[in-house]
């Protein structure tokens, strides 16, 4: 392979012969050769293009930049042997670059840990204020709705009830059924060692009704609908649709956020009831097949094990979880700005955070119910 350039002394100065492939494709070799030129050059320089094949813009630019870095003024550089047609343009642009333009940006200073802490606190404070403001706006819209029912956007609400609720029934049912079969199976294995098979019914009933039914449903809905809320509203933000709504005198919180929050608050308890039923069905089926407990005996035992609050202590959590999921999803969606990457990041944040909040709330409920013997 031919070396792309050769530097030879000629008279007072230098002659630089350019050889072989000088297209963009040969850029790596050319780059390496340019690097090997002396760091400073003096005297007139003549570039001979007659042996350069298919000279490209980028290599020519790299050559000009390299010569200028070596301290050669443009007036001392000559070109011969049919230089490429765009060379003149490049020389002109090169000259423009040399004239300094505006102050250079100061390099970032290393921050002390205290400055970092301060910045973090300010950010968190701003964040908390944002959340509070968001909650306030939602409350304001719901408050208005008492005097102006139109603010509730019934058609939009219906759509979200269908999308977050009705279409979620199959997956919620299936997962509740399977998980309770698994719980019953593992419980049966342990309890049958003590001959306490019948307590599998108690185990399934209490676990499903108090905790698992609502928690599983909330987590599925957070994955399905929390992410959808964040992504839908996020894309509308990127398309400036929310700005358009504001400009037309409409309130995006009222149009986009409140219908989703209300829909989920309505839907999640209903889904929880379905999940409870499917969970009990799963437990009953496993008891019948694995433990030979006939259905009448299962239902009798089920009624025995229930306290009046068992079912309600699960269901009462559903609207709270729903509000958390919907508000985290829509809030993160409203935060999307500027780029597709933000959209992806905030959708992820929405799901992770809403699941975290649901579990945190569930733990708080557990402590609360224990304290008040609910």
């Amino acid at each position: 392979m031919t070396v792309p350039l050769a530097l030879e002394p000629a008279g007072m100065g230098w002659q630089l012969e350019l050889r072989g492939d000088w297209s963009l494709a040969a850029m790596p070799q050319i780059e390496a050769q340019l690097e090997s030129l002396p760091t400073t050059l003096r005297g007139p320089m003549l570039c001979d293009w007659s042996h350069a094949e298919a000279p490209g813009i980028a290599p020519a630019w790299a050559l000009l930049r390299r010569l200028s870095h070596a301290g050669l003024p443009a007036a001392e550089i000559g070109h011969s042997g049919g230089p490429p047609h765009f060379l003149e343009l490049l020389q002109k642009l090169e000259l423009d670059l040399l004239t300094p333009s505006g102050p250079q940006l100061a390099p970032l200073k290393l921050e002390g840990p205290i400055a970092k802490l301060g910045r973090w606190s300010v950010l968190q404070g701003r964040h908390a204020r944002g959340v509070l403001e968001f909650l306030g706006r939602i409350a304001a819209v719901i408050g208005q709705a008492f005097g102006r029912p139109r603010a509730l956007r019934i058609s939009s609400l219906a759509r979200h009830i269908y999308e977050t609720g009705v279409t979620a029934i199959p997956i919620v049912s299936l997962i509740a059924f399977l998980i309770s079969v698994i719980v019953a199976y593992i419980g049966a294995q342990q309890l049958s060692r003590f001959g306490a098979d019948i307590f599998v019914v108690d185990l399934v009933t209490i676990a499903v009704l108090r905790e698992m039914g609502v928690l599983l449903t909330a987590i599925i809905v957070a994955g399905r609908s929390g992410s959808a809320f964040a992504a839908e509203i996020g894309v509308m933000q990127l398309n400036e649709e929310t700005d358009a709504l504001r400009a037309m005198g409409m309130n995006p919180i009222e149009m986009l956020v409140v219908p989703r929050v209300l829909a989920l608050i309505i839907v999640l308890p209903l889904l929880t009831v379905i999940a409870d039923a499917m969970g009990l069905a799963g437990g009953g089926l496993l008891s019948l097949i694995d433990l030979n407990i006939p259905l009448p005996q299962f239902t009798y035992r089920l009624r025995e094990s229930l306290s009046p609050t068992t079912f309600w202590s699960g269901l009462i959590k559903a609207p709270v979880f729903a509000a958390l999921i919907a508000m985290v999803g829509t809030y993160r969606g409203m935060q999307v700005r500027d780029s597709a990457r933000e959209l992806g990041r905030l959708t992820t944040v929405a799901v992770v955070q809403s699941i975290f909040m649901v579990i945190l709330a569930d733990a708080s409920f557990a402590v609360l119910f224990q304290k008040i013997n609910f």
């Binding site: 980028a58 930049r65 343009l89 642009l93 333009s101 500027d338």
Partner: protein, 259 residues
């Protein structure tokens, strides 16, 4: 009338495109020769963008062939296709800059993908391409969302020029620009066309741009394309073409460029 000694850069033959029962193109022919600035014009919904997508090989046409530099876009093998992609540059209507990268990184993106260059060289080349389209070096560090409409168009052009194509496709390069920015863009295009010896295919609604830059124009009417010089178009009796080139806006644009 056509000069047969020079092979056309783009040759589209009896192209057909339909969406369901809606026929967009039916037997559309188009030729673009070296060093032309070819304007594509047509009413809304006549399939200008569909034509562009067919030429770029982004859409499989329902009938007909598309040749770039004498090679069929459809039958090109994957390996060959990447070399073809490197021979043209495209700007999309809204810029289509990658929103999570800075302008300089956007310009470097195709260079990074196709060549292994040092960071230093990549910076130099980003600087070159920004300078070529008349953007300040400081614009390189900005994100697309921080740019004005005119700067986005220029940045998109810089990215399209990064691989040193001989052929440039521009989709509505001046739409959404104020007349002064649009005129500056026309000037830039003419300058680059002359200096870099580019062949340009431009979809545009902007009559000023059309009169200021284009050497030939192709009008999509009745699912076909009628190509002619601007002077030829002014004489064309077809009712749509007549009203397009003789409307009030057209007369103003013509006056400005000929008078």
């Amino acid at each position: 009338m056509l000069d047969r000694s020079v092979d056309p850069v783009i040759r589209v033959r009896s192209l057909g495109n339909r969406f369901g029962s809606q026929v967009v193109h039916d037997g559309l022919d188009m030729e673009v020769r070296q060093n032309e600035i070819f304007g594509v014009v047509g009413g809304s919904g006549t399939g200008k963008s569909v034509l562009l997508r067919s030429i770029l090989g982004l859409r499989h046409p329902d009938a007909g062939t598309v040749e770039l530099y004498g090679r069929d876009v459809e039958t090109l093998a994957a390996a060959d296709r990447s070399s073809l992609v490197q021979s043209y540059g495209v700007t999309f209507q809204n810029g289509a800059l990658i929103s999570s990268l800075t302008v300089a990184q956007n310009v470097q993106l195709p260079l990074r993908e196709h060549y292994s260059l040092s960071e230093n060289t990549l910076d130099e080349l980003a600087q070159l391409n920004l300078a070529l389209v008349g953007l300040e070096p400081e614009a390189g560090a900005k994100f697309p969302s921080q740019l004005s409409g005119g700067m986005i168009k220029r940045a998109a052009l810089a990215r399209a020029l990064a691989l040193e194509p001989k052929l440039l496709f521009l989709d509505e390069p001046t739409s959404g620009l104020d007349p002064i920015s649009a005129a500056a863009f026309d000037e830039l295009l003419l300058y680059l066309h002359a200096q870099l010896r580019l062949t340009v295919v431009m979809i545009t609604h902007d009559l000023d741009t059309l009169f200021a830059t284009c050497t030939r124009v192709g009008v999509i009417v009745d699912k076909h394309m009628i190509s002619d010089t601007l002077d030829g178009m002014l004489e064309n009796p077809h009712p749509w073409i007549h009203s397009y080139f003789h409307g009030a806006r057209a007369r103003a644009a013509e006056k400005e460029n000929h008078g």
